[in-house]
Amino acid sequence: MDVAEFAKLTREFDRLVPLNRAMGMHLVSLEAGTATIRLPWDDRFLGDAADGLVHGGVLTTLLDTTCGMAAFMGLRTPGIIATLDLRIDHLRPATVGAELVAEGTTVRATRQVLFVRGVAHHGDPAQPVAQATATFAVTS
């Protein structure tokens, strides 16, 4: 993807998706059928005031967004998509204070449905924190 198109999609991502903006997600790269998003640490991501765990919902939200962007990039023709279903496996505890990176890949795109896989890690893809399997419907 060229620089101007990436910049335009970044502006749209920031402007159009309030929760992504509120959490501080940043698009790293978008290519055909794939997306990479990073999420710098924020104390609001804690899942437990006492022990200092990262809330599972942070991983789910990041992976839903990343898989959704990958699906968007995997559309055969421009359109709107909606999450049909999503599975999240929490592979190991996420580290409090550490930036998260999520990568999504469209496995198959049909006219009605896109199948996407995603993974979230702290910088080393060989040490994933969570993985996702998602399907998206093409709604228009």
Partner: protein, 151 residues
């Protein structure tokens, strides 16, 4: 006797006296749930529920507009954890292992409610079904199946 965390002692005392307020306070202290406007409290029928107040920052698609799937997922996960904390008496905060979400309808700009039911409680693992709805409970916006670790 093994030492249990203070929150477990507090929940046991609260359960014995039927005071759900202790659970509301415990879950209300979770930063990410608070950020999304999620609280745990009894619903109109007295059933334990989680509720997410609608706010602009939980929107995922302003065009429709629709609530972000991740926010609804976090509400469902919160409802599951709250139910397990209240009923299964774990000695640690239940940790999500695997969660599956079915998104049935888009979340309109309004509050979302969720209620969880324990399907099976083992010594280590608890399986929970959760539903989220808005105005009409018979028309859920999302369903979840959560597998939580209890130790």
């Amino acid at each position: 006797m093994s030492d249990v965390p203070p929150f477990v002692e507090r929940l046991r005392a609260a359960r014995a006296s039927g005071d759900v307020g202790e659970l509301t306070a415990l879950m209300g202290a979770v930063p990410f749930a608070a950020f999304l406007g999620i609280e745990v409290a009894p619903g109109e029928t007295g059933e334990l529920q989680a509720r997410m107040r609608f706010a602009e920052h939980v929107v995922g698609n302003p065009g429709l507009p629709a609530i972000h799937g991740g926010a609804i997922a976090t509400l469902l996960e919160t409802a599951a954890i709250a139910r397990v904390l209240w009923e299964a008496d774990p000695e640690v905060l239940p940790r999500p292992v695997t969660l599956t979400f079915d998104y049935l309808r888009s979340g309109r700009p309004a509050d979302v409610h969720a209620s969880a039911r324990i399907v099976r409680q083992g010594r280590r693992v608890c399986t929970v079904r959760v539903a989220a709805w808005q105005e009409d409970r018979e028309r859920p916006v999302a369903l979840a199946n959560a597998t939580l670790l209890l130790c």
